[in-house]
C-alpha cells in the first residue's frame, strides 16, 4: 500500500463525530456550536451522518478503527439511538478493534445523565464530562447550565455506568487565585476519576469573553500567575498519581485517552459532522479535511454531494512535519526524531536542540525520543517555534 510504503503512516486510525448543537452558547467557547431553539429534525441529521460516513469510508478502505469520539457542541443532546445508528454504520464500513475506545462528551446536567445508560447500550464505553468548575459562581460566569451538585451526581452516575470516564475543568479564570484553585483541584482529584482534562482559560476571538476582555471587563491572570497556576496543577496531579501525559491532560498510567493520543501522535482520523477536521493519508499524501460549519448547510451538502467537505488540502512535507511537531511535542512521550525526518525530508537543527537542552526545555529520552521537559511545557509554543525554524 502506498501509505505504508511512503512511511508516512503510523497505523493509528480513529473517527471523530462532531455534534454541533448546544442548549446555550458559553461565552468563552469558540468551538463550532449552534443553538436551535425549536429543536432539530434528528432523523434528518442522522441520515446525513450515515451518508458522510460512507463517503469517508470509500477514501479509507481497510483501516481498523481504534477510537471513536463524539465531540461537540453537546453530543449528550443526541438521542442514544442516533449514536447507535452511527456506531453501527462505522462497524459496517470498517473493522472496529475489540478494545476500541468509544468516547462521548456529555454535559453533567440531570437530564443528560438520564441518557447515560442509553449511550452505554449503544456502544459508548467512555464519557468525558464538561464539569468545568466545582464552584457555583464561576460556573454561572462560564455560562454553564448545571450546578455543582448536578455535576458531582453526574460524575457518580458516569462512574457507575462506564468503565472509563474523564471530566474537564477550566482554570486560570478571571480573578482566580492560587489558593482557590488548589482547593478546587484537590476536590476534583478526590472524586476519583482516572482521567482529568485541565485547561487554562484562553480568550478566543469571536467569543463574548473576547469582547469583554477587550473592554477591560475580564481580569485575567497575568503570565506569572498563569505559570504558577500551571505549576501548581502539575504538582497536585502528580502527587495524586494523575500526572500529565499531555499539556492539559492527566491520567493514571494506562488510562490516557486513546483518541487524544491518536491526535497527538499524528495518526489518521476521519472527521464527520458539521465543522469537523480530519487527517487522511490518500495515496501517500496527507490530506487536511474540514467540513461546512453551519449544520443545516452541511446536511444539505451531504445530501447533494455525499459529504460536507469544504476543505481538502494536500499537505506539503513542511506542513505535515510542522503539524507532527506541534502535536507530538505536547506529549510527555515526545516525538521520534526519525519520524520527523521521514515526514520532512530533513533533520531537526541540532544547534536549536542544543540551545534548548542547555536551557532545560527539551531532552532526549532513553528510547531516542525528543521531548519537551516539564519546565518547557509552559512555554511550549515558543519552544516548538524554535525547533521548527
Amino acid at each position: 500500500m502506498a501509505n505504508l510504503a511512503s512511511g508516512r503512516a503510523n497505523g493509528l486510525f480513529g473517527i471523530y463525530v462532531h455534534w454541533p448543537f448546544c442548549a446555550a452558547k458559553c461565552p468563552y467557547c469558540d468551538f463550532n456550536s449552534h443553538v436551535r431553539q425549536g429543536g432539530i429534525d434528528e432523523a434528518y441529521f442522522r441520515d446525513a451522518y450515515l451518508q458522510e460516513l460512507a463517503h469517508f469510508a470509500s477514501l479509507t478502505p481497510g483501516r481498523t478503527v481504534q477510537s471513536i469520539f463524539f465531540g461537540g457542541g453537546t453530543p449528550s443532546l443526541m438521542e442514544p439511538r442516533t449514536t447507535e445508528a452511527i456506531l453501527d454504520a462505522i462497524a459496517g464500513h470498517w473493522t472496529i478493534a475489540a478494545d476500541a475506545e468509544i468516547t462521548l462528551e456529555a454535559n453533567p446536567t440531570s437530564v443528560e445523565a438520564e441518557r447515560f445508560r442509553g449511550y452505554r447500550q449503544a456502544g459508548v464505553n467512555r464519557v468525558s464530562l464538561g464539569v468545568q468548575s466545582l464552584r457555583e459562581e464561576p460556573l454561572k460566569r462560564l455560562g454553564r447550565l448545571h450546578s455543582v451538585t448536578e455535576a458531582r451526581l453526574a460524575v457518580g452516575i458516569a462512574q457507575s455506568i462506564f468503565e472509563r470516564m474523564s471530566f474537564d475543568l477550566i482554570y486560570a479564570r478571571p480573578e482566580q487565585t492560587l489558593k482557590d484553585w488548589q482547593s478546587e483541584l484537590q476536590e476534583a482529584i478526590g472524586m476519583g476519576s482516572e482521567h482529568l482534562s485541565l485547561y487554562q482559560l484562553t480568550i478566543e476571538q469571536g467569543t463574548r469573553y473576547f469582547d469583554l476582555f477587550n473592554q477591560g471587563k475580564l481580569l485575567m491572570p497575568d503570565a506569572d500567575l498563569s505559570a504558577d497556576l500551571y505549576r501548581l496543577t502539575q504538582d497536585l496531579t502528580e502527587a495524586a498519581g494523575l500526572s500529565a501525559y499531555e499539556i492539559s491532560n492527566h491520567a493514571r498510567a494506562g488510562e490516557e485517552s486513546r483518541h487524544n493520543l491518536l491526535y497527538w501522535r499524528y495518526g489518521e482520523y476521519v472527521g464527520i459532522g458539521a465543522g469537523a477536521h480530519g487527517r487522511l493519508l490518500i495515496d501517500g499524501v496527507r490530506h487536511a479535511t474540514a467540513t461546512e460549519r453551519l449544520p443545516e448547510k452541511w446536511a444539505e451538502q451531504v445530501a447533494a454531494k455525499g459529504s460536507g467537505l469544504v476543505t481538502d488540502d494536500r499537505l506539503t512535507w513542511e506542513e505535515e512535519s510542522d503539524e507532527f511537531l506541534v502535536m507530538g511535542l505536547r506529549l510527555r512521550e515526545g516525538i521520534d526524531p526519525k519520524r520527523y525526518e521521514t515526514l520532512s525530508g530533513h533533520v531537526l537543527q541540532q544547534k536549536q536542540i542544543d540551545e534548548l537542552r542547555a536551557l532545560g526545555f527539551v531532552e532526549y529520552l532513553r528510547n531516542g525520543n525528543l521531548r519537551v521537559t516539564p519546565e518547557g511545557w509552559p512555554v511550549l509554543d515558543a519552544v516548538v517555534a524554535d525547533l521548527a525554524t
Partner: protein
C-alpha cells in the same frame, strides 16, 4: 544677440516656508506672460513631488521674464528660485551670488521667522539690494504695520516702502515688478573680457542629460564653444545654450549679466561643482570666481534594506539619486546587526530625510536608518588626524588624544510662553546662549549648539515643547574639542554595532538609560532572560533586563484541528524571519527602527 546689460535685473526671493514664495513666483510668471493660464500648474518652479509637498525647493531653478516697464523699456528679469533650507546653505549662497537683489517676502500675519532671518542675512552677505514684500495682506489677521516694524527692528531693513501684496489674488504684484526694475541694480560685466561664468546649479534631465545653470559675469558663452570648468579642469563643447521662460528656449548665446543654461556631453551631475567657474578653454580668464568650495556632507547615517534581497536595488536607487545630487554620498557598509547596507553622507537632516523618503517612495524600498551621526575630527596620540563618519569605527580610546565635534549657530523664534521650555532644551543639549531678544511678542534665542545634540531628536523635542510654534534655523560654525565617549549597547552581552553612538560624557548615562528602557519594550521575551546594557568602554552605565518568557502555550485544541496550530506556527516562523539574530537573541527590525528614532 546678448541682452543689453542695463535692461537686466537678476533677483531671488527670500522667504520662510509657506510665506508665499512660490505663489508669488507663479504670479510673476503669469503676469509677464511666461506661461498662459492653461499652462500654469500650481507652483511651477518646485518640480519634484517632495518639493511641492513640503513647499521647499531642493534644486535652484530659474526663469526669464520679459517685462515692459512704466518707463517704456522692455526689461529682462531673471528670477532664481533658491533652495530654501539651511542644509543647502552653500547652494543658496551661490544662487544668491548670481543675483544683485532679493525680494524679502514676509507673511503679513505671521511676521518674521527664523528661516527668514537666516536667508535674509545670506542675501545681505551677498551684497543684495533688498525689497521687502508683505504678502497675504488681504487676510483678516494681516497686520502690515506690525510686520513692517519687525522687519526694521529685527533685520534692520528700511521697510517704509515695503510692497503690500496678495500673491494669491494678484493684488499689488504689478508694484513688485516695478520695484524690481526701479529699486534693484543692473548687473555689471565686461562683454569683451574672456568668458567668466558661475556654475549655479546642475541637474540631470532624461532628455538633455546634465543641465548646467550658469550666470555669465564677463564675456559671452556660446553654443559650440569649448569651455573649461576651472575647479575640475574638464573641458566640454557646448551643445545647447538658452534660457527658461520657464519653457526651455535655445538662444545660442548668453552675455554678461545673463542667467541661463548650457548642456554638453557631461555624464553625471557629480562632474559639475556648484560655484565652479566656467571659462573659455582657449582664452581662459585670469582668475576664478571667489567663494568656491566642494560640497561637504555633514550628517551621516547607515541605510540598510529591511529585506537583504533588496541590497542591489538599494545600490541602484542610490546611484540613480546621486546622478542628480552630487552632495549625497554613499559607500558600502556591513553591520553585524543589519547586514549589508550603505554609509551615507548628507548636507543636513532635511537632506537626509528627503533622500530617505525618495528611496522609499520612488524606489519602493523598505529601509532601516541608523542614528544620524556628525563628522568628528579625531587627533590620535601619534599626531595623525582622522575624520570619523561612523561611531562604530571609533579607534581605541587610549590612542585618542582628543575629539573635535562640529558646532552650529542656531536661531530659534518662539512664542513667549514656550521660551522656558526652549531654553531648557538648549541648555540640556549643551547650548551656549549668545543672544536673547524679543521680536514683537515672540522671543528670539540665539545659541551655539553641538550638531550631534541636534541630529538626535532636537527638532521633535522643539516641536513638542512649543506645540509646533517655534521656528528653527542653523548654520555650521566650527569644530570644538569635546569630552565625547562611545556609548555601546549590549544585548545579552553582545554589542549591537548599529546602536552604538558617540555622545557627550555628561549625557551618556541618560541616553544609555533611555535606550535600554526602549529596547526592553521593543525586544520580545525569549525563553531566557536578556540583560540589556549601555556601556562606556567596559563600564556599564545603565541596565535593564527582559525577563524570561514564562507562559506561552495553547491550552486546548478543537477536535483534532491541527490546522490552526500549524497556522500559528507558520506565523511564528514568518515572524522569526523578520528578526535579526544577535547571538542567541532575536531582535525584530521594528526594534531598530523604533530605538533609533530616539524621541519618545
Amino acid at each position: 544677440m546678448t541682452t543689453d546689460i542695463s535692461l537686466i535685473r537678476n533677483f531671488s526671493i527670500v522667504a520662510h516656508i509657506d510665506h508665499g514664495k512660490s505663489t508669488l513666483a507663479d504670479r510673476l510668471i503669469q503676469m509677464t506672460g511666461g506661461l498662459d493660464v492653461r499652462e500654469m500648474k500650481e507652483q511651477v518652479l518646485d518640480s519634484m513631488d517632495i518639493e511641492r509637498e513640503r513647499g521647499i525647493t531642493i534644486k535652484a531653478q530659474t526663469v526669464r521674464l520679459h517685462y515692459a516697464a512704466k518707463d517704456g523699456r522692455d526689461y529682462v528679469l531673471n528670477l532664481i528660485d533658491t533652495p530654501g533650507h539651511v542644509d543647502f546653505a552653500y547652494e543658496v549662497s551661490r544662487s544668491l551670488h548670481a543675483c544683485e537683489g532679493s525680494l524679502l517676502v514676509v507673511d503679513a500675519s505671521q511676521g518674521v521667522e527664523a528661516q527668514t532671518l537666516a536667508n535674509v542675512y545670506q542675501a545681505i552677505d551677498a551684497n543684495h539690494e533688498i525689497v521687502p514684500v508683505l504678502n497675504k495682506v488681504d487676510l483678516p489677521a494681516a497686520d502690515p504695520a506690525r510686520v513692517r516694524q519687525q522687519i526694521e527692528e529685527v533685520i534692520g531693513l528700511d521697510a517704509s516702502e515695503a510692497v503690500e501684496i496678495s500673491a494669491k489674488t494678484g493684488l499689488g504684484v504689478d508694484k513688485v515688478l516695478e520695484a524690481i526694475v526701479t529699486r534693484l541694480p543692473a548687473p555689471k560685466g565686461d562683454l569683451n573680457a574672456p568668458l567668466r561664468a558661475m556654475l549655479v546649479d546642475s541637474w540631470y534631465d532624461s532628455y538633455l542629460g546634465v543641465v548646467v545653470l550658469v550666470r555669465v559675469i564677463d564675456g559671452v558663452i556660446r553654443k559650440g564653444q569649448k569651455v573649461r570648468m576651472m575647479a575640475t579642469g574638464a573641458a566640454y563643447e557646448l551643445d545647447r545654450v538658452g534660457v527658461f521662460t520657464p519653457k526651455l528656449v535655445q538662444t545660442g548665446e548668453l552675455g554678461p549679466g545673463e542667467i541661463g543654461f548650457v548642456t554638453a556631453s557631461i555624464k553625471q551631475v557629480a562632474d559639475t561643482n556648484v560655484g565652479d567657474t566656467i571659462t573659455d578653454d582657449r582664452h581662459p580668464c585670469a582668475k576664478a570666481l571667489p567663494g568656491f568650495r566642494p560640497a561637504q556632507p555633514v550628517v551621516f547615517c547607515g541605510l540598510f534594506p529591511v529585506d537583504a534581497n533588496d541590497f542591489d536595488d538599494l545600490r541602484a536607487a542610490m546611484a540613480k539619486l546621486r546622478l542628480n545630487d552630487a552632495s549625497f554620498s554613499f559607500e558600502m557598509e556591513t553591520s553585524a546587526a543589519l547586514g549589508f547596507g550603505f554609509r551615507c553622507g548628507f548636507l543636513g537632516l532635511l537632506h537626509l530625510e528627503i533622500i530617505q523618503e525618495r528611496l522609499s517612495r520612488e524606489f519602493d524600498l523598505d529601509l532601516i536608518a541608523t542614528a544620524p551621526s556628525v563628522v568628528y575630527e579625531i587627533r590620535l596620540t601619534d599626531g595623525t588626524e582622522l575624520k570619523l563618519h561612523n561611531p562604530a569605527d571609533l579607534p581605541d580610546p587610549v590612542k585618542i588624544d582628543h575629539i573635535r565635534e562640529p558646532w552650529i549657530k542656531a536661531t530659534i523664534l518662539t512664542p513667549d510662553e514656550y521660551l522656558g521650555a526652549v531654553l531648557k532644551l538648549c541648555q540640556d543639549r549643551r547650548g551656549i546662549q549668545t543672544n536673547l531678544t524679543y521680536v514683537g511678542s515672540r522671543a528670539m534665542a540665539e545659541y551655539q549648539l553641538p550638531l550631534n545634540e541636534v541630529v538626535f531628536d532636537f527638532y521633535d523635542r522643539l516641536k513638542s515643547a512649543t506645540k509646533g510654534y517655534a521656528s528653527f534655523d542653523y548654520q555650521l560654525a566650527d569644530h570644538r574639542e569635546g569630552d565625547l565617549v562611545k556609548l555601546s549597547i549590549l544585548v545579552n552581552g553582545e554589542p549591537v554595532d548599529a546602536l552604538s553612538m558617540l555622545v557627550h560624557r555628561s549625557a551618556a548615562e541618560t541616553r544609555g538609560r533611555v535606550m535600554c528602557e526602549k529596547l526592553k519594550e521593543l525586544i520580545p521575551q525569549h525563553l531566557f532572560k536578556i540583560p540589556i546594557q549601555a556601556a562606556i568602554g567596559g563600564r556599564v552605565v545603565a541596565r535593564e533586563t527582559i525577563s524570561a518568557l514564562r507562559k506561552d502555550v495553547t491550552a486546548k485544541c478543537y477536535g483534532g484541528d491541527a490546522t490552526r496550530k500549524r497556522k500559528l506556527l507558520e506565523k511564528q516562523k514568518a515572524g522569526k524571519k523578520r528578526m535579526r539574530q544577535f547571538g542567541k537573541v532575536e531582535i525584530p527590525q521594528e526594534a531598530f527602527i523604533q530605538a533609533l528614532k530616539m524621541s519618545e
